[in-house]
């Protein structure tokens, strides 16, 4: 059993699991953080800020580079079309992947690269909300990239010779030559058409070999953990899991118990920040800005945490007496995001579900929309200018600040100290994200909200689930680099967890020892089992083993063969041999020996059994629990007589 790690970012995981002859891909995350190396895609055509070409000190290299790189406020950026770091698909033959299991919308954005460009022929499994929200994320990404395209593809800077001489920020880019351009909307449609949706705890059979089941992970609407079971092994895949109480259905731990191995990924990206405190900070900073007459900009994804932000913020605004401050939500999928969130009641927490029976929409943002306090727009040209009222709070994508309407708002509000940009998405380092917009006057607040498992929660969970083995990212067994003194911020388990990192193949410590085999009725008719102990019957069988669809069946030998006769590979017969079993009854044995003419038999009981002394034949028989020794110094005929008598006293198959 092997596990290949294709992704370098444990929060955007992608694994290949070879298990019982089946090849599974676990998640298919896309690491978008590499877009930070690029200049933002302005909504309004090119601003003067980005025009300054970066000059390489080496004139030769500068000539090769041309105007691929630009300098903004001391940082160097690639002035080309955005590219993304897909997982290391080269590690495996994607056409041999039998199925892809997706955990949540955050871990599926690289899916089109697999399904549309690799010859993949398998099936993709995920829950329905994951499919829909994933579609929204993909469509938003593609729309942002295609809406204001930068058609120039830059690749000269990626050559090893030039890359090594570039400033650190670009130099540390991981395998830029493997970066790929964004897929298209057509790819999204085609890719999602291969998806088979599953419900929580619904069992799906993978080629008869494995049963997969999704169970709630409590991280987002429809997010799940996977259990992969064969009749004798159970592996669990935990990805994007939250034990906190937010809007999704709470985590279901029961199916994850009694597993031989658990693979953990997508733990919190910000272990030093408490999500509850951060929501409080977020609300507080928003209200301070509004009360000071400023506007608030929140770079965000179109779904997930944003629903909690709407809920908490609106109630906090109410409690601070700011009931008239408008909330604007801009995303190419804002309409479908808000609409879908309110129809997935069965995937939500108990409190949200109970609202549906009132009947009320599960999320309060539905009411905010109906009273006009929360307004959604597909982009800034979608009527926003008609309704726009300041001070206000704008939620807009993309959190990387390299694309989407958020770029426009930073350019618009960045010069005023009264405004605030509030980072809540933990995927991107906020200072790097802001680098191309410097110098920036607006206030910057970093309140990352990541409800994923913290180290203490993960350790507690594992102590509860007690898996046989644990597999975690290498970065999870050492304290985060920025909190190196926090030695408790590691995954701690006994036996010590196995670790994975990008490009590594792990041999999992699980050995298959048993397999279930069925017997056909015809064969069963000929079997005469003998009860060797209560409830356990044994029989000799000679049959043909048929393997089909990972199912093993014993059938009668085909007609051409002599039934019941064992043969060697060359067709020669093997002498029939019987198997003896049972324990020796000493008295019966002694009687049998007497009948064979052996006299003067002395029996001595020992701790482990008995010693039978035959002084006339100069023989000792030592009978123990699991063995019998005949120590015969006399004639060979006596030994054979004793052996045969002994065999007669035992049962045979």
């Amino acid at each position: 059993m092997k596990l290949s790690c294709l992704s370098g970012n444990p929060s955007k995981p992608c694994f290949i699991l070879h298990f019982k002859g089946v090849t599974l891909m676990l998640d298919c995350g896309l690491d978008i953080s590499q877009v930070l190396k690029f200049l933002p895609l302005s909504v309004v055509p090119k601003s003067d800020n980005y025009d300054k070409k970066w000059n390489h000190s080496d004139k030769e290299k500068d000539k090769i580079l041309g105007d691929e790189l630009k300098e903004v406020a001391g940082s160097v950026f690639v002035d080309g079309s955005l590219e993304f770091c897909a997982p290391e698909f080269g590690m495996t033959t994607l056409s041999e992947v039998d199925a892809i299991l997706l955990s949540n919308h955050n871990t599926m954005l690289a899916l089109p690269y697999v399904t549309e460009y690799s010859g993949f022929k398998g099936t993709v499994y995920c829950t329905e909300p994951t499919q829909q929200i994933g579609r929204q994320y993909m469509e938003e990404l593609v729309t942002y990239v295609e809406r204001n395209p930068r058609n120039k593809k830059c690749s000269k800077w990626k050559s090893d010779a030039i890359l090594s001489s570039l400033p650190t920020f670009l130099r540390e880019a991981i395998r830029p030559t493997a970066w790929r351009e964004c897929y298209t909307k057509h790819d999204i449609q085609a890719c999602l058409s291969r998806v088979q949706t599953v419900g929580y705890n619904e069992k799906r059979n993978i080629y008869g070999a494995l049963i997969i089941t999704a169970c709630s992970s409590g991280y987002s609407i429809g997010s799940c953990n996977w259990t992969i079971k064969s009749p004798y092994q159970k592996i669990c895949y935990i990805s994007g899991t939250s034990t906190l109480t937010t809007h999704p259905k709470p985590m279901d731990t029961e199916p994850l118990r009694q597993s031989d191995l658990i693979i953990v990924s997508s733990m919190t990206k910000t272990p030093g920040y408490n999500p509850d405190q951060m929501i409080g900070e977020f609300c507080m900073n928003t209200v301070v800005t509004i009360k000071n007459g400023g506007n608030v900009l929140v770079p965000c994804y179109p779904s997930g945490m944003i629903f909690d932000l709407f809920e908490c913020l609106s109630s906090h605004l109410d409690s601070c007496g700011l009931t008239t401050v408008p909330l604007y939500f801009l995303s190419p999928v804002s309409d479908s995001s808000l609409a879908y969130s309110n129809i997935y009641a069965e995937w939500l927490s108990g409190s949200k579900q109970s609202r549906v029976y009132l009947p009320e929409p599960p999320f309060p943002h539905a009411e905010l929309v109906s009273i006009g306090r929360l307004r959604q727009y597909l982009n800034i040209h979608d009527g926003l200018q008609n309704d726009f009222k300041s001070p206000c709070i704008v939620f807009a994508g993309h959190p990387s600040l390299r694309m989407g309407d958020v770029v426009h708002f930073i350019e618009l509000w960045g010069k005023s100290t009264g405004n605030t940009i509030l980072f809540t998405e933990p995927d991107f380092p906020y200072l790097e994200a802001l680098a191309p917009f410097q110098p920036l006057q607006m206030k910057v607040c970093y309140c990352p909200i990541d409800t994923g498992l913290s180290f203490s929660q993960a350790n507690k969970l594992m102590r509860d689930l007690k898996p046989g083995h644990l597999v975690v990212a290498e970065s999870y067994v050492q304290p985060p680099s920025n909190l190196s003194h926090k030695t408790d911020m590691v995954v701690d388990y006994d036996p010590p967890p196995l670790t994975y990192k990008r490009g590594e193949i792990l041999t999992l410590p699980i050995k298959r020892q048993f397999e279930t085999v069925e017997i056909t009725p015809n064969l069963a008719k000929n079997v005469s089992p003998v009860e060797v102990k209560p409830g356990c019957m044994v029989s000799m069988v000679t049959a043909a083993l048929n393997i089909k669809d990972n199912k093993y069946t014993l059938e009668l030998l085909p007609d051409g063969h002599l039934s019941g006769k064992k043969r060697r590979a060359d067709g020669s017969l093997i002498r029939e041999k019987s198997y003896i079993w049972g324990s020796l009854n000493i008295q019966s044995f002694v009687d049998a020996l007497t009948r064979q003419g052996i006299t003067d038999i002395k029996v001595e009981d020992t701790e482990d059994g008995s010693i039978i002394d035959l002084p006339n034949d100069d023989t000792l028989i030592q009978v123990e629990g699991a063995s019998t020794h005949i120590i015969c110094n006399g004639e060979e005929i006596v030994r054979t007589k004793i052996r045969d008598t002994l065999l007669r006293c035992l049962q045979k198959l």
Partner: protein, 764 residues
């Protein structure tokens, strides 16, 4: 009911109490009866005529009497002996009762013995004590009391006995042989105290002996040296109880000690004890001794501050973990003893500095175990909130700026702001503030940001505390331009006043109070400008709060605010606003559900009336801002339909309405106010009638409405007076009708029920 009938009824009650069928489960009836009798017994003859003496005599002889009745009888003796000069024969009866109870009743009956010793304690201080004791075996009672102490029975009984023994030595009986014998035993108890120090909790007998020693140290002169040794041991035990008791005794010994050498010896032994015990015990001793002035305060201060000074010298070493309890105790003592000295202040500021970082912050300097310790922060801030020397002012501000930026405890946040409020005037005037290199500006700027954020905190306590801070600044420093300017620059006033619409009622209430403070100050124009609003708009908003807020706290604050706005800022208000306020006080607020709101309404209209009367009495003031008040003339104009909202008639109408309010607090208050209103109105009528010609007088009297109003007012006032005289909020039926208490007690007599057919039928 006349006195004779009352006495007869009392006798019946006594008869019932003495009967074996007496079962009164509610012992408050005994107390009420005791109070009632105590109130009526002014002369000994009355006690005789209503059968009290007879009851006490029979109670002593009656073996079937219930314990509760016995307690009642003993307490009755206490009242009689301490209040009346009883003839010898009566005193004898009572001493017989006391002796019988003391010697024949089982000590297990705790309540009886508690009452007995409490009574004896009172009687010991009476002039007739010697006469009283003539007929009792005082020796036996003392022995009994001493036995009870040694047996360590109920804490209440031990306390009663202890009180009795203590008062014995300050009474006329102190010189008796019995008392002297007891004193010897008490001395023995002290001298034989377990010296190995294992006895940390003092026994009742030891405590009692020490109390006697503290009250009358001269009685123990014989064994001065031994007692001194014991007291020093007690002090060294280190428990609060033993240290406190020993310290008080030592202090008392020193005060009474004529011999200078002895006094010096006491002091040197105490000093030595402090030096030899561990630091925490030493602190306990110092805490007890500090207010007593037994030792030089400076030396005690050194002991108290030692843990804090040691910290300073060790330069925040993490090895000082063990000193945390000592530091904490030291800070408590500095606070409790109110040591307002530079040295102490420096130490406290230093500890605050060590705690200023986040609890999980390992990067800053400071002792790890102190970092972020909220307990230490609270103690430091408590001290610095009452006293901060100039030398440490900037350090404290720096610490406060750090603490307020992260603290999640609103108590600490509040204390930081209180401290800041105290320090701000000096900080802003200091030369450091104007210096470019000083960090105080950045500290204040950090505080400003934190306070602004906390105005918007998710936790209402933080928002409330922030509003309160603004109010405090305005209240305490309204004449200090620098402070006010700093506050205005920080826009705190705007944040505080915007909280009128807060979701939490307490915050709304505090915000309204703050708004009131700001509006009544000379900085109201800044507020109005910064909020881009007018005073009339604000008034309209507050009127909405009065009418629609579901919580009482904001309505109270809003009503108070409107009250002050109308009285003090009427010249700024649009007439419509004035009319709305008056209407609100006439119609909605008087029918508010909250009684305190209604009291504000009463205060408002009384203030209006005072202004009206003052304006009419003194023509010079009539042109004052309250020209809006239609004065006494309105009464005459009523008939012409020219009734204003702010007028004497509307005031009186509201007050008359509230005088019938279902809430007694409101109606009583109105009735109290009506007295002076009536008096003033009567004066007016007299003044007008004497100063004006007959025609005017006839005008005044002819006005049907006015005369009706005044008549009603006078009637209501008379009713109110009557009611106040007879009634009180706290007065019960029993207070007004003593016989009903006696009837109720007699109703409990079950022996009569059997013959009462009606009752039997009722039961089914």
């Amino acid at each position: 009911m006349n006195e004779q009938e009352y006495c007869k009824k009392v006798q019946e009650v006594f008869e019932f109490l003495l009967s074996s069928s007496c079962h009164i489960h509610d012992d408050t009836l005994y107390h009420k009866l005791l109070d009632s009798l105590n109130g009526k017994m002014i002369i000994p003859e009355f006690a005789e005529s209503c059968g009290v003496i007879d009851f006490l005599q029979r109670a002593g002889n009656n073996t079937d009497i219930s314990p509760d009745t016995l307690v009642f009888a003993v307490q009755l003796v206490e009242k009689l002996v301490s209040k009346l000069e009883l003839p010898g024969i009566h005193l004898e009866n009572m001493s017989v009762l006391i002796e019988t109870v003391a010697l024949r009743t089982s000590v297990d009956n705790l309540s009886v013995f508690c009452a007995l010793f409490t009574t004896m304690t009172t009687i010991l201080q009476c002039p007739c004590i010697k006469e009283f004791c003539l007929n009792i075996d005082f020796q036996d009672i003392l022995k009994k009391s001493f036995d009870i102490l040694k047996e360590e029975r109920s804490i209440f009984l031990s306390r009663a006995v202890s009180e009795f023994i203590c008062s014995l030595f300050s009474s006329k009986m102190a010189e008796s042989q019995e008392a002297k014998k007891l004193l010897k035993e008490l001395q023995t108890i002290i001298v034989n105290f377990d010296r190995d120090g294992s006895q940390r909790v003092l026994s009742p007998s030891m405590l009692c002996s020490l109390r006697v020693l503290e009250k009358a140290p001269h009685l123990f002169n014989d064994s001065f040296a031994e007692i001194l040794d014991v007291l020093i041991i007690l002090m060294k035990i280190g428990s609060t109880q033993s240290s406190t008791t020993a310290a008080r005794c030592l202090h008392s010994l020193c005060l009474q000690c004529q011999d200078r050498a002895k006094s010096e010896r006491v002091k040197s032994l105490v000093t030595e004890a402090i030096e030899t015990v561990d630091i925490v015990k030493g602190l306990h001793i110092a805490k007890v001794l500090y207010p007593l002035q037994l030792l030089e305060r400076s030396s005690l201060e050194n002991t108290i501050l030692e843990p804090l000074q040691m910290l300073d010298k060790t330069n925040h070493s993490p090895a000082m973990h063990s000193s945390l309890p000592a530091v904490s105790l030291s800070l408590t003592i500095v606070n409790d003893c109110n040591i307002q000295k530079l040295e102490a202040c420096k130490c406290v500021a230093e500890v605050l500095k060590m705690t200023e970082n986040r609890p999980d912050d390992f990067t800053g300097s400071g002792c790890y175990s102190f970092t972020g310790s909220s307990k230490l922060q609270i103690k430091c801030l408590d001290y610095l909130g009452s006293y901060t020397s100039k030398e440490v002012m900037l350090s404290v501000i720096s610490s406060i700026s750090n603490i307020v930026s992260y603290t999640t405890e609103h108590m600490i946040y509040g204390k930081c702001l209180l401290c800041l409020c105290r320090l701000l005037p000096e900080v802003l005037c200091s030369s450091c503030y104007s210096s470019e290199r000083s960090t105080v500006k950045s500290d204040l700027s950090k505080i400003k940001e934190s306070v602004q954020r906390n105005f918007c905190s998710v936790e209402w306590e933080f928002r409330d505390t922030s509003c309160e801070f603004v109010r405090n600044l305005m209240d305490k420093h309204k004449d200090k331009e620098g402070v006010i300017q700093w506050m205005l620059d920080s826009r705190f006033h705007v944040f505080a006043c915007q909280a009128v619409g807060d979701g939490e009622s307490y915050v709304r209430a505090t915000s309204l109070s703050t708004l009131q403070t700001v509006l009544l100050s000379s900085y109201r124009t800044n507020l109005l400008q910064d909020m881009n609003t007018t005073i009339d708009e604000i008034i309209s908003q507050i009127l909405d709060v009065c009418k629609t807020d579901s919580e009482a706290f904001p309505r109270r604050s809003a009503a108070r605010l409107l009250h002050h706005c109308l009285l003090d800022l009427s010249y700024l208000l649009h007439p419509d606003s004035i009319q709305c306020i008056a209407q609100c006080f006439s119609t909605s607020l008087p029918s508010d559900f909250d009684w305190e709101v209604k009291l504000i309404v009463v205060e408002f209209w009384c203030a209006i009336l005072k202004r009206c009367f003052d304006a009419d009495l003194d023509k010079e003031t009539s042109d004052q801002p309250l020209g809006i008040v239609v004065s006494l003339d309105c009464l005459k104009n009523e008939k012409d339909g020219k009734r204003g909202y702010v007028s004497i008639s509307s005031a009186i109408n509201v007050l008359l309405k509230l005088s019938c309010d279902y809430d007694p607090s409101v109606s009583e208050r109105v009735c109290q106010e009506l007295c002076w209103i009536c008096e003033t109105l009567e004066k007016f009528v007299l003044k007008i009638s004497s100063a004006t010609n007959d025609d005017n007088r006839s005008d005044w009297c002819v006005c049907a409405h006015c005369s009706q109003l005044i008549t009603e007012l006078l009637n209501r006032m008379t009713e109110g007076k009557e009611k106040t005289r007879n009634d009180s909020v706290f007065k019960t039926d029993y207070d007004s009708n003593a016989v009903s208490l006696l009837d109720d007690i007699l109703l409990l007599d079950r022996s009569q029920d059997n013959n009462d057919e009606d009752n039997a039928i009722d039961c089914y």
